[in-house]
Symmetry: C3
Subunit: 680 residues, 3 copies
């Protein structure tokens, strides 16, 4: 984006303010270093105040002012929220909940993604906007819709039912194949024709799991179809890059399918500033975004300059925290830092959401921090960060199908897919290991270690790829609840895991998740907590949530359960497989034990590890080592090189709370693309 500058700016909603304010906006944008503004995201009702009548005069003026002020424009297609007149005219377009409740206008995103009415009107609107602005000199980027699926990802209306049937016909061809895949012989659910199928509306008890999974797949796909339809219209007239803003780990939308269809990956990110785990979760989110784009630079399309307004309690960002988190993004591959929104709103549901220009005006901490960051980013244009890549030795397999399926009801125990992945990410981050996210079928050959947490839903192709990775010399780690089913959610009978049984040298006889502590304590003394023990874990450790009966065929037991009926059963195993090895982890380890295991594995696999300093995040991008102190205390770094922000040497470099250093380290200057060589 923007050639050789970091993009800097935010959502700009001039329609919320009188035109007199607009010139001041542009002038203050200049002062703050804003070079990119997202315009028109919620302007449908303003642009098309009545069916088919378009009013672009105001937008012409806004774009002209921005252009004159040197601010480039990320122009929205304005389809994110249909105007009231459209819902009044076509009430059938309203989203429908699974219990039949219809959602009305009066907030935002009130449309069924499958609604032909919505799509027809959205396309007409996009065409009008593209016709008018395709050649506008300020245009830098097209911003399609906004946060697809944020509030309405699944719709259960009749139009959705029709579309779901089309999806299923495509997927299964004939009804017998669907009946087989969905296991409809169970509970007398057999369909005699596609016409009998409905979305998984409210039902007396547990719904068909494969129907639910297919409905998740369908819903993600329908949103993508909305996106694709807009892209087609844009491409009739414009070759300007296109994006739509993702939302990090957003369950309802499988971004692996979306990423190839955007020209620029962009992300909205709102961690809770008061959450001590937010920095490491944030790092994980940045790594996902970079990975979605195959390592390409991406844009932080939205973050809040300080507090948001939609939690029960909305903490403000501490002094320096917004800057620190911005550099986390830059370090992890972002080429732009943008905010929601430019001028804090005066009315509406987000008036308490911070803005770059707060209610209090320019004499405020928030505006000063924005201004300073804008200037600082401008100064870093030629630092080597911009446009460069982040390298990782380790990959974590992330899979939306498994996310959807693992969190279905009627499971062995209630698990959180994201918590499971995050526990591994935390351990890897604490060990100083940089991570990419991948799919099992991606090219894994460049990674020294591949972690596969809870890949519940796994097709043969995926399992064969993982096995091949290990056989070719990689180190594979799979956790409990991996490859329990195939893509149809059919159990892999005979011990689960499919071909991974050979890879891992074991099979699983039975799941034995521990009871909830409060239940186990009924009627007297609670049983001792589940524990595991093994050198690779640093001794004995608590293990919550999960246990299972592992039957080792070839594997070596690295750690075992202790106490209770699980005593002595394998908890962590390793197995030689071809030129590599494969590990299995049969429980949820405590953070400490997992860190111990990760350090052991990293050592074994020869994984590069960054420095480890309490509270400090490190990441290497384009030969620069970015350090961010998220802790409450100042720390002293002791690294080679010098800080490009201050010129200070990396040795004995003091970093206060929220402090950032970007160290240019001579020996890493030219490693881009030569990583394998460096490591050998």
């Amino acid at each position: 984006m923007l050639g050789r500058r970091f993009a800097f700016g935010g959502d700009y909603n001039p329609e919320q303010w009188p035109a007199e304010v607009w010139p001041e906006d542009v002038s203050l944008m200049n002062r703050a270093g804003v070079n990119l503004a997202s315009v028109g995201i919620f302007s449908w009702a303003r642009i098309e105040p009545r069916d088919g009548e378009f009013d672009f005069a105001w937008l012409d003026e806004v774009l002209e002012l921005l252009h004159a002020g040197g601010v480039r424009v990320d122009l929205a297609t304005a389809t994110a929220s249909p105007p009231p007149w459209l819902l009044v005219k076509h009430p059938e377009m309203r989203p429908q909940l699974e219990d039949g409740t219809r959602l009305s206008s009066g907030s935002r995103q009130a449309y069924c993604p499958s609604s032909p009415v919505y799509r027809r009107h959205a396309e007409r609107l996009v065409r009008a906007i593209v016709d008018r602005y395709a050649d506008h000199p300020a245009l830098e980027l097209w911003h399609v819709n906004n946060e697809y699926g944020c509030h309405v990802s699944h719709c259960y209306c009749d139009a959705s039912a029709d579309a779901f049937r089309v999806f299923l016909r495509d997927r299964y061809g004939d009804i017998d194949r669907l009946n087989e895949a969905w296991g409809t012989a169970f509970w007398s659910q057999r369909y005699d024709s596609f016409d009998e199928i409905l979305p998984p509306r409210s039902a007396p008890t547990f719904k068909n799991p494969t129907q639910l999974l297919d409905f998740d797949r369908f819903s993600s796909r329908e949103l993508l179809e909305c996106y694709r339809a807009e892209v087609r219209v844009i491409r009739e007239r414009s070759s300007v890059p296109i994006t739509t803003n993702f939302m990090g780990f957003f369950k309802a939308v499988d971004y692996w399918a979306w990423a190839p269809e955007v020209d620029v990956v962009s992300d909205d990110s709102y961690p809770d500033p008061a959450d001590p785990l937010a920095p490491v979760f944030g790092a994980m989110q940045r790594d996902l975004l970079r990975s979605l784009g195959g390592g390409k630079p991406w844009l932080l399309m939205e973050q809040s300059p300080s507090a948001v307004n939609w939690r029960e309690r909305n903490a403000a960002k501490r002094p320096g925290q917004m800057r620190a988190w911005s550099y986390q993004c830059v370090g992890r591959g972002a080429d732009g830092i943008l905010f929601f929104q430019w001028r804090q709103a005066k009315a509406g549901a987000e008036k308490f959401h911070a803005g770059m220009l707060p209610h209090g005006g320019t004499d405020t901490r928030v505006f000063r921090e924005v201004e300073a960051l804008g200037a600082e980013l401008a100064s870093l244009a030629s630092s080597g960060l911009l446009g460069s890549r982040v390298e990782a030795d380790v990959a974590v397999v992330f899979d939306w199908d498994s996310w959807w399926a693992l969190e279905q009801e009627a499971a062995p125990t209630r698990l959180s897919y994201l918590e499971g992945v995050f526990s591994w990410y935390r351990a890897l981050a604490a060990a100083g290991v940089t991570v990419d996210f991948v799919r099992a079928t991606d090219d894994l050959s460049a990674y020294r270690l591949v972690v596969v947490p809870h890949l519940l839903v796994a097709g043969d192709r995926q399992l064969e790829a993982l096995d091949a990775y290990a056989a070719a010399g990689g180190t594979l780690i799979a956790t409990y609840q991996t490859a329990v089913t195939d893509e149809d959610l059919h159990i892999r009978t005979g011990g689960y895991l499919g071909v991974l049984q050979d890879t891992l040298g074991l099979w699983v006889e039975e799941f034995t998740p521990p009871a909830a502590p409060d239940l186990a304590a009924r009627g007297g003394t609670p049983p001792p907590a589940l524990a595991v023990e093994g050198d690779v874990l640093g001794g004995r450790a608590e293990a919550g949530l999960w246990a299972e009966v592992v039957r080792v065929t070839a594997a070596r037991v690295e750690a075992a359960f202790v106490g209770g009926v699980e005593a002595g059963r394998p908890a962590v195993t390793s197995n030689a497989r071809g030129a590599g090895s494969a590990w299995y982890v049969a429980t949820q380890l405590s953070d400490d034990a997992l860190l111990h295991l990760v350090l052991h594995l990293a050592e074994l696999a020869g994984v590069e590890r960054l420095p480890r300093v309490d509270g400090v995040e490190f990441v290497r991008r384009g030969g620069l080592l970015v350090a961010v102190n998220h802790g409450e205390e100042a720390v002293t770094l002791d690294e080679p090189g010098e800080d490009v922000l201050t010129g200070a040497p990396g040795r004995e470099l003091e970093l206060g709370p929220q402090g950032v250093a970007i160290l240019r380290q001579a020996h890493c200057g030219d490693l881009d693309g030569t990583r394998r060589a460096r490591l050998e």
Copy 2:
């Protein structure tokens, strides 16, 4: 009411019992001292068993019996709960929830307040009742409907939508003004005509805040229109006083608008007998009721003789507790004590709700306490309490708009308006200070201190009135979240507070509410709790829920935040303003700190303070000092004067748990209406 007697009695529902029981009822009422009975509140289905057919014979007989027994009648208009036949005939009259659910008959109050069908049938019923009984010799009072809005305050049906549109046309005139007020430029919510507007039905996410606020205003107004319509019918034929029973701090109904339209303010009050804070909350409720009527005597229309039936656990009142709470009402301005209900029901949803005449009959504690109270109140007829007023030096601004708005979603943090007000009331009560409730635009000149908690929604007129109060010599205290918006819920940009910035000598830069403790503790040690420190608070104190960045322009910092990023920021400030002063409190203080501050302010402002004895409530009415011991232990009073209940001297007067004394104190005998003189 009732000339020179305290009203005493309760709801009387003879239709629940065979006619043979009625003479016994009247005879026992006489024994219990009952002189007023509320009749017919839920009699619609009995009076009008079929559409347009009226049966008054039974009611004639009941009124005749009561009249013969000397019991006066508070006659209901019987519109509180429509009969099943009406809902079967007109299902469109059923209330509709925001998700579209329709509510059926089978409980009570099943009508949409805006329903033309309901209103037409209700008016016909009222006319029939008034025609028949307007001149009945037993008639003392008209009781319109019952607990308006108790279960159905907001209806989302199409009839409500129509009425809402009428309300909005009246309020805004044209749709552009509404769009401006509602901030519909946000999230593409612009309306092209009033016809597109709906009640705030279920929507994908946060609804338009001003729409919500207007819907609250509308809903309170629609209920008032129901009341007004009945009053109009009554006034066609009768000049007997009219009331409808309020419900204290009832969020859905803005009683400031209602109070001028009732001839007698009356209240239903059901604090939990097991709640240790109930006595002080009860006192606050009595003070509101008195204040609604501008200080006029009011009626306790309903309380329970002992337990209620609608909580999860329904504690009985302890021996003496009903009497103690009754005197709380009398001390705070009530001229009548009534109950729900006379004879404990044998069937139906309230059969476990206590009655004056319990299931167990007359040989019961409850009946004996009722009987004793009836006799005692009769003996107090000429004590000087009846008809006299309570005087207060301090006023607390109470505002329904701010209540509605402060508790909307999408706010800086989840706050309870009533908890905020109650924290001040508790401190004032603990300091021995009597309080009136007021609106900001009322005449405040008689008050030495005015507290303004969380007046979130404040028009210029209100702020100017508060400023003028301070400038004229008053002491004004405003808390955080005051004057954040105007009446349209538009932010007062540039530091909030509007003209109060000058009054207080400060502006507010940013809200920084603290994180929830459980979140802040994630991943390690929890941060220290937010604290404040200052002499006016008695040193250091914890401060929960709220913090903000106050920017002092002229104010003096009386207390400051300590520790963390807030360290040193102003928490309590004072400012000279004309002949008076203005204080600002920027956090939620602990009870101890707030009491310390209140004592300081009362001292400064020369506020009269009543005695302070642990567990004992004091209030002065008509020259008599009423003392009620709510504590678990006996206490000894040491006051001048003598107890009119027992003749005992106030010096060394022992007061057991739930004990009451009413001290006639010579030097206060003639202060009515001469308060200002006394204080100077």
Copy 3:
């Protein structure tokens, strides 16, 4: 069943698997000792894939294979879950929730029990099945529907409304009687005709309690009508015994009304293996099942071989636990042990529910335990257990009307009927006392002690029977909340209890349930917990949940409340009544105090008591003493006789965790039917 063998087997759903698997199924069934398979429970959609088209070929083959393998068949009527095509064709058949939500197909049991469409199609299906298989040689038992009401027990649709009106006309005859019974004079609920009555749909607040109770009665009755309709069709052609599987203490269905209509009582039972109270709750459930059939042997129709899949956390059964629980059933009267299901499912909502043949195959703990139990039960065929009865000296009155009513809203406090009953059962079990469940109007003369917990709803006939029992020499114990109302839920005024006032020698003045501890602690120190004291309780004990004011007329106070306002009031009383005595317990005693009281009462009444060993359950059936060690530790028994399982002597018999012994004790060999003699 099955002549002189224990039934052993489970649900068999061959339609979930390819036909190639079926012969292996039968072969493995033989290996596991399976002699009874429940077939076709969810086969409607397979048997009738299109309206009126039946396909029996597959089922012919399955039955033939089973028959050839010597496995008898419990053949389902297949009506438990209608196929999608039926709901698509007749959407009016969908169940409706009280808020109007309609439930769709896609899970199971999606039908309104009152739907004429459902019933017509179900009867046609049953007729087709009976026509085809009535004379099949493998047929052992008819299995009507499945778990009636499990997910849809109450339907609020218009068809249900019609049926409810028919039910009410039958019950009340005319509308005046209904109005009287329902107390519709309260809250203006009077009905002018039956046509105005609806199911208790969503309403503004508490619904009419008697309407709710009648709707519970109606809903249980409608399900029974579904059952009866199928039985009528079967009986047109077949005299093979009929069952339908009960679900133990299932609130929605009053099994007292059902039990006389099944030829074999059968039960589905899924206690949580991780719940330490599950063994004693399980014992209570077995005793209910035996009692429903009047002491006849019954079948455990479904249990899980290990984990289930529908809890939040689904613990596996520990080694031996399935066997131990199976013997609990056998000891308490079961003549068969069956499972859900034979082969663990590969797809669908229950794929994680354990099967006799697990995902892992035959080399698994679960299959080995199934196989061993099958063999062991076969070896016990002539042990004397099969077909014999269990004798009990003590009866507990269990009453669905009181269950429904006690747990309605708008009660003195939130109570659990089942918790109350279970607290008595736990104490009786801990005292070594075997229990039958009865209705108050059953013949009680054979019992030495009858416990009546919370018989809230009690008609005169019931109370007279209980009084007569005591007067004839029995020992009667009634608890708080007994006989508070009659069958119409009308209060028994004048002190509650009706004629039991004479039996017990007391009346109840007022209910005074204690406050919730968290409320009572508001604003300072919490009050001391409610306590009681008396020799019969072993001294002083805590008492939670309930207190009341008991007024003794003739009774002796055995224990009293201590402390607080309840101090000195009676808590436990006894009263001589004719040749017997009657006790009253006015609070919820702690487990210890209740055990003390039960031991005292058992002593007084001369009740037989079994051995008491920590963690070990004992029960005597057919002259054999069954002992099951549910504890975590091994214990040593010291009983006469020898273990029929091992031949070991009962003296110094070691029983490990989950261990079972069945002691043949000479002196008890011939006591069947001679119990009274033995005891005298």
